[in-house]
């Protein structure tokens, strides 16, 4: 508890704003979501384009669907996709980076080369190819896996440089000289320390993943029946929402994504600042 209090005292305004933003969206996507509500995907053709009211906080779409609940579901699904991708990506990346940084030598060179390759390859064309060919339409899991193919490279690189610098630290030297094996050193000394940075990588991966999901959805390459922020924008546009002035419908997912990304971003950079201050840099 005391540790958290200390963290709070030292964190910047930016970190605080970001933190609250992220928590707010998590709250929307996972707590508000639990409030019993009708399935927002069902059409209600007798109540289309309704303005905001007590029954429908943001009004309804061209198909009579409740915009507010569509938004909540979309936030939730987008976050879930982001988390899946980030989990896979960060786990793989951390493993690769640790191995490369600690073992050094040939292993490092090979792993670093592979990491750099995946950093440079532009992900969108490959994803376009992938999603355009998936038999039976891309499922959410499949799309998340596809995005994850590229999500591990950045964390791996970061982890590697962390490991490299840590390897030379005193306490690691001591551990090695006192005969502890590599695995134990990694898990007991390096890993706990670098986990703090891993959080930053994780959040960044979430940010990139959701961004990629929105891009794919807008291009029509995301599973169309998945309620996500990108798909909500796409469907609204296919009903000409922007030109017809249906601001709540097209605006809700746009504003939500902007604020969510901004919060994530502020959290990440604020957290990075906090960590570097802690490191005494």
């Amino acid at each position: 508890m005391a540790a958290i209090g200390k963290m709070w005292k030292h964190s910047t305004v930016r970190l605080k704003i970001g933190f609250f933003g992220v928590v707010f969206f998590l709250f929307l996507g996972f707590v508000v979501y639990l409030v019993p509500h009708d399935d927002p995907t069902l059409f209600d053709m007798w109540n289309v384009y309704a303005p905001p009211s007590r029954d429908h906080f943001f009004g309804t779409t061209a198909l009579g669907q409740d915009i507010f609940w569509l938004l909540i579901n979309s936030i939730r699904n987008s976050i879930i996709i982001g988390v899946i991708v980030a989990t896979i990506g960060t786990t793989v990346g951390v493993l690769v980076g640790l191995t490369a940084g600690y073992l050094g030598g040939k292993t490092d060179r090979v792993l670093s080369a592979v990491t750099d390759i995946f950093l440079v390859i532009p992900s969108l064309p490959v994803l376009i190819l992938f999603t355009s060919l998936v038999q039976g339409g891309p499922t959410t899991l499949l799309m998340a896996l596809a995005i994850a193919i590229f999500a591990w490279a950045a964390p791996a690189r970061q982890m590697r440089s962390m490991t490299l610098s840590m390897r030379e630290r005193e306490f690691v030297h001591t551990a090695r000289f006192s005969g502890e094996n590599a695995f134990k050193i990694i898990t007991t000394q390096i890993l706990p320390y670098s986990l703090t940075w891993t959080l930053s990588n994780f959040m960044n991966a979430v940010l990139v993943a959701i961004g990629m999901e929105v891009t794919l959805a807008i291009l029509g390459l995301s599973p169309a029946t998945l309620m996500s922020l990108g798909n909500m924008m796409r469907v609204a546009q296919s009903y000409n929402a922007a030109l017809l002035g249906h601001w709540f419908w097209i605006g809700a997912p746009v504003v939500a994504s902007v604020f969510f990304f901004v919060s994530l971003f502020m959290f990440i950079t604020g957290y990075n600042d906090y960590l570097s201050v802690k490191r005494g840099r």
Partner: protein, 681 residues
């Protein structure tokens, strides 16, 4: 100090632009939502005749006299039409080379065919041919008269030798795409005189005009200039970029990237096939007022709407009703098929859309199951979800509900339909299925939304159809149970397993079909089923259709090309009744994997009867009744096309009131429509 000022200025500039962008998002452009008071109706249609709108319509745009287009022509003499899609090979104008894009100004304004189609009359008319062919008794030898007085754009006459040459090119050149199929049909083709061609077919074939002339959008049988093609090294591989045309127009220039093409009226236009046909068939001898045709690609949907509103385009293809609503509100000169008013679109496109059941998968192989699903759909609500209730109802399997089809087949069937029932065999009364009240109900629904719908029967029949299938949830329940489904609590089970309906639709393209599937899925969910819907990219969707990997798909195996539907049945594979297992391609055959020996017999018999024989119509009726009882495919609406036109520069467009043809800017018959347009200046 200087840096500080610079920094502050930059910051201010950025802040200003951000605010400007978000703030001036066009209060002037987009009507605000505050017109709505009633939560149950959408904003009143500002084209309401009662005139009780809050924003007066914007004044008609002014025409700048003497304005020039970007391609160097007078705007008042130029017809600007949108491309259906951008051609992949701009500059390839050879009809006999694979990959030539046709609907991009090419088959409309450069090529002519033996026979052309007029959809409002529902009949072909001879184009290069002078008349329909005469055949011998067993329909193996056919004589085709060719029109006289037609000349290529380089001055050479168009004769039977060109026709024979073209046929023989396909028959002898192995690289031609249609080489195999033409050889399967034809034994020989010869020009017996300058204006007569004789075809000999391998088998009795009473439908020469339908097979080798245009019945829909276009035809591979485009007559090529013998004197030019003969001189090519390989006529099937020559781009023909500087083409000699048979029509009244020639290519002036085109964008090498495929963004546009400009065609100009030939100087000797009276000697073209188009002019000769206009004179002989339509009785018109004046030249077309549109001396220049500029076809172009516009961009994404937002750009397209704005271009139309700005009078930069005269005719466009494929809008959605939401887009129609926007453009007709912003520019009073923009119209759809019914003028600037609801329903904006024609229901005469040759493919009705609906749901294809997979008769190769249980329980969808049971007609009781299929009928159950049909009766579980509240068509009023589903129709609202597709295109806001727009569209003529198209209930029968296979039959596309064009105006002609509705009169020839559906109307005489009404007594039979009204008496039709489905018997679940559970001891209770048989279930009646027909509902003739759809048109009146839908008219009321639209009137409640503030839209003016006329009262006369003819308009209502044309706009909304003659009827649809009933919404009968209790009847549906009985049918599902008779088909072997069990309801345990809130969940449906089949053969002991939880029952899920798997539906697939093509993503993006063919909006109507996609929305139809989604609307149906919504209905089934409301009924209580667990439905899994996937929108798939075309490659995958087409594949899954072929292999039978679906329970219900949004494909459209519907036609009404020829009045006796014989050719359509043949092409649609309705003569097949044995199918390979799921996972293997169904060819030949149809997507529903459906057929019976009786139906096969009908289809095959029709092939041997000429189209004028009344027996073929009797057989067609029999066929329709048989498939309706089986219900392997249920129709929602006819093929609805929203093809807006802009009357700022050109009028006399085909429309519901002026029904001299259909809104087919991308079909080869567009040349005859373009000829008849009148300038406003």
């Amino acid at each position: 100090m200087k840096k500080r000022i610079l920094a502050i200025l930059l910051a201010l500039a950025m802040a200003f632009s951000v605010f400007a962008l978000t703030a001036c998002n066009g209060d002037e452009v987009i009507p605000p939502d505050d017109q709505i008071e009633d939560t149950t109706t959408p904003p009143p249609d500002t084209n309401d005749d009662n005139g009780d709108t809050e924003d007066p319509p914007p004044p008609p745009p002014e025409i700048e006299v003497g304005a020039m287009t970007e391609v160097g022509t007078l705007r008042s003499e130029t017809l600007i039409v949108e491309y259906q899609f951008r051609p992949g090979n701009p500059g390839r104008f050879n009809p006999h080379m694979a990959g030539t894009s046709r609907g991009t100004g090419v088959h409309q304004f450069m090529w002519s065919h033996l026979y052309e189609i007029n959809t409002s009359r529902g009949e072909q008319f001879p184009e290069i041919a002078a008349d329909f062919p005469t055949s011998n008794e067993d329909f193996t030898v056919h004589t085709l008269p060719i029109r006289e007085g037609m000349y290529w754009s380089d001055g050479m006459p168009i004769t039977a030798h060109d026709v024979a040459y073209t046929f023989n090119l396909i028959l002898t050149n192995e690289e031609h795409v249609h080489h195999a199929s033409y050889n399967a049909l034809l034994e020989s083709v010869e020009a017996t005189s300058d204006f007569e061609v004789t075809l000999v077919t391998n088998d009795p074939f009473p439908r020469i005009a339908q097979r080798f002339g245009v019945v829909l959008w276009g035809r591979e049988m485009v007559i090529a200039p013998k004197h030019i093609f003969e001189a090519m090294e390989n006529p099937v591989m020559d781009e023909f970029s500087d083409p000699v045309t048979s029509t009244a127009w020639v290519v002036h220039s085109f964008d090498p990237d495929g963004a546009w093409i400009r065609l100009d009226l030939r100087e000797d236009w009276e000697r073209s096939t188009t002019a000769v046909v206009m004179r002989e068939v339509y009785g018109i001898t004046d030249p077309p007022a549109a001396r220049h045709i500029w076809m172009r690609s516009i961009g994404d949907d937002t750009a397209r709407q704005m271009a139309l509103i700005n009078n930069e385009v005269d005719a466009m293809v494929e809008f959605t009703p939401e887009m129609m609503r926007f453009v007709t509100e912003r520019n009073p000169n923009i119209e759809g098929w019914y003028g600037p008013y609801f329903p904006w679109g024609t229901s005469d496109d040759p493919c009705s859309k609906g749901l294809t059941f997979n008769a190769g998968v249980a329980p969808f192989d049971n007609p009781l199951m299929r009928w159950g699903l049909v009766l579980a759909i509240d068509f009023d609500e589903a129709s609202m979800a597709v295109f806001e209730g727009i569209g003529r109802s198209s209930p029968l399997p296979f039959l596309t509900i064009t105006g002609a089809a509705q009169e020839i087949y559906l109307r005489p069937m009404l007594p039979w339909l009204e008496a039709l029932t489905v018997d679940p065999g559970d001891g209770g009364p048989p279930i009646p299925v027909w509902d003739g009240g759809y048109a009146d109900r839908m008219a009321e629904i639209q009137r409640a939304r503030g839209i003016d719908i006329p009262n006369d029967r003819a308009t209502l029949d044309g706009m909304f159809g003659l009827g649809t299938w009933r919404y009968d949830p209790e009847g549906a329940m009985r049918l599902f149970e008779a088909a072997g489904l069990e309801l345990r609590g809130d969940d449906w089970f089949f053969e002991g397993e939880p029952f899920v309906i798997n539906m697939i639709a093509m993503a993006d393209a063919e909006v109507q079909a996609g929305r139809t599937v989604l609307a149906a899925a919504d209905q089934f969910r409301k009924f209580g089923f667990n439905v899994n819907v996937e929108e798939q990219i075309s490659a995958t969707w087409i594949d899954n259709n072929e292999l039978g990997h679906f329970d219900i798909t949004g494909s459209w195996p519907t036609m009404f090309v020829t009045q006796d539907i014989a050719a359509d049945l043949q092409a649609g594979g309705w003569w097949v009744y044995e199918y390979p297992p799921i996972g293997e391609s169904h060819h030949p055959g149809n997507m529903m994997r459906f057929g019976t020996p009786e139906i096969a017999a009908i289809v095959l018999e029709k092939q041997t009867i000429p189209p004028e024989d009344p027996r073929t119509f009797e057989l067609a009726m029999e066929f329709l009744k048989l498939v309706t009882e089986e219900m392997p495919w249920v129709g929602f609406h006819g093929g609805i096309k929203f093809c807006p036109i802009n009357t700022t520069y050109w009028t006399n467009w085909p429309s519901a009131e002026n029904n001299y043809d259909g809104p087919w800017w991308w079909w080869s018959c567009f040349k005859y429509i373009a000829w008849q347009l009148q300038p406003t200046t």
